[in-house]
Symmetry: C2
Subunit: 358 residues, 2 copies
């Protein structure tokens, strides 16, 4: 049995105003008509041997997740963190939950905010990784880069192992020159997707991050268990706040990387959203009531009841709803975070969702 676990976290300031604290990035239809959370659900269900999905998330994401699970047929388990402690504690809690039922079950850890249009290629990569996971490896998917992105971390593949590779190193986000070198050297993007047997994962956690493993196990044992929901206990708060890369993956000798040959994006900023979107012949992507006149390379989103007109714009994101409008040069999107922090102080970032049509 394969147990898909969707990790949902983060506030997505770099996608403001579409993404706001109470209606964050995974639940907004950023590319096409579906949210990345809905995509992740469907991606999980479409795997041939998949158990119902487990979702690990903070309480603020819970209402959106319940609605999404309901829409998808009502199956699935929502595991609520009492507070966000980065990826390692969340994955540890999910692993302990699953191990209690099926220690040799294989877990597929997915992120709620990834866009992967090709389900078939995804399933193939998972299948390859799963075979190695059954042999006791922790396999991460390394996406074949199609550009020298500075927005992603990289994985340097090491010695071959049964058709895939050991992980030689996890590498932080590079600058452009480094990224270009990484491409030439065959590095892969660190997707943050992992496939591992529950017992393998817990064994490595116990070895390299025992505090996390213990806190996560306790938070499950003491948690409040309902049919479709688990509230992790306060013990979860005592887990060190750390990513799985730092806590385990950089230390373990059980790490393999399986190459993934599919288009993939974490839609980390508006330029990534445009890159993943369908464009017209002028390179524009528009959704909602939008009029473009002599615009090129623009991403335009009009919320419900709004009309957005763009005249002569080049390489802009224009995201509008009834409370907030964001206009950003797509090459300057790194400035958005600072701007949003200033806007928040003006009392914006309201909990009203952006409804965009398509």
């Amino acid at each position: 049995m394969l147990y898909p676990v969707i990790m949902s976290g983060g506030s997505g300031q770099r996608l403001w105003p579409a993404s706001r604290p109470h209606f964050p990035k995974p639940f907004i239809p950023l590319v096409g008509s579906r949210s990345t959370f809905d995509e992740a659900l469907e991606r999980s269900k479409a795997l041939s041997n998949a158990a119902p999905v487990t979702v690990v998330a903070g309480r603020s994401h819970a209402p959106a997740i319940r609605r999404a699970l309901q829409r998808a047929g009502g199956e699935g388990l929502l595991v609520m963190e009492p507070e966000a402690r980065d990826s390692a504690p969340a994955m540890a809690a999910a692993a302990h939950l699953i191990a209690a039922r099926d220690p040799e079950g294989v877990i597929l850890f997915l992120a709620a905010d990834h866009h992967i249009p090709d389900q078939h290629a995804f399933a193939q990569a998972v299948g390859l990784a799963e075979r190695h996971a059954r042999d006791g490896w922790i396999v991460t998917l390394g996406v074949q880069p199609d550009a020298p992105s500075t927005a992603y971390g990289y994985i340097r593949p090491g010695e071959p192992q049964g058709g895939i590779h050991h992980v030689a190193a996890f590498v932080e986000k590079p600058d452009l020159a480094q990224a270009e070198q990484f491409l030439r050297d065959g590095y892969l993007w660190n997707s943050g997707m992992f496939i591992t047997r529950a017992d393998t994962f817990i064994a490595e956690l116990d070895l390299y991050a025992p505090e996390i493993s213990t806190a996560a196990r306790l938070s499950v044992e003491e948690g409040e268990h309902e049919p479709h929901q688990v509230s992790l206990s306060a013990a979860f708060r005592s887990a060190p706040k750390i990513s799985i890369d730092y806590a385990v993956m950089e230390k373990t000798d059980r790490a393999l990387v399986a190459p993934a040959h599919f288009a993939w994006s974490d839609l980390g900023a508006w330029n990534a959203v445009l890159a993943a979107s369908k464009r017209d012949e002028s390179g524009n992507s528009a959704a909602g009531e939008v009029v473009l006149e002599n615009a090129e390379g623009c991403l335009v989103r009009a919320g419900e009841g709004m009309t957005v007109v763009v005249v002569g714009g080049r390489n802009l994101a224009v995201i509008a709803d009834r409370e907030a409008v964001m206009v950003c040069d797509l090459d300057s999107s790194e400035g958005l975070k600072a701007a949003v922090e200033r806007a928040s102080k003006m009392g914006v970032a309201a909990p009203r969702p952006l409804a965009i049509n398509g």
Copy 2:
């Protein structure tokens, strides 16, 4: 006595979405906190020998005009056209109304959508023109250009006449090369402001545009007269639809041009609004709840209850309210009209005013 007449017309598509059919350009605070109509009222009242103002406008402007007159103290006469017939019939009707009381009274025709910050210089230019008007001339104010604008018509000054000049020619909006030549040749901007005795003006109308004069006179005589309002009769509709330049000024030998040495703008498009606005050290002008991050030369207007964030924009207008957002490269504003026509077909251009704070 000097009789100020404010002409209010036009739909202002080039200033959409701030300007919309039921809340047009003259009644919006585009520069600073006051509308150009309020500015024109104040400009008129500040003249030392001015009678209460007469406003000629279409019915759709009437509510906004009544509110503005009320705010300014309640004086003034609103003359309503049954339909828009361009400037010549509107000016003719005002002239017949005023001539009925004071044939030798001097009329100062002003536009409702002009921005002239320097009241003192304005009053000086009017005073100079008025002296010539009393001698039976129709004097137009020719604004000294400060740039080779292609947005305005020009006046070529002719022979001197008592310290000012005859009009040698009215010239249509030029291209840039022509405009630069006009500047070198001492041409003036055709401001559309005129000073003339009522009887002079009617005599020239009778000579060169008798149909207009007759239709206008009838529309006044048959009109519905109330204390603060005149509804011109249907006779007005039979006047040829034509501007005063074509109907009279290009033909009469009574035309003089008085040079006007003050900053002047008809705020004809968003780049003109930015040029007339106070700017910060990065060349931006912002009003309402606006956050700018690394923006340069941008005009940003946030309607009530909206926040607008602009990141890394250059030379953009961003005008936003709860129903419509317009983003325009300020060098491409000629494309806005076409875009607005397309937006109108989508049911936009709603009658809701844009409230902007400052």
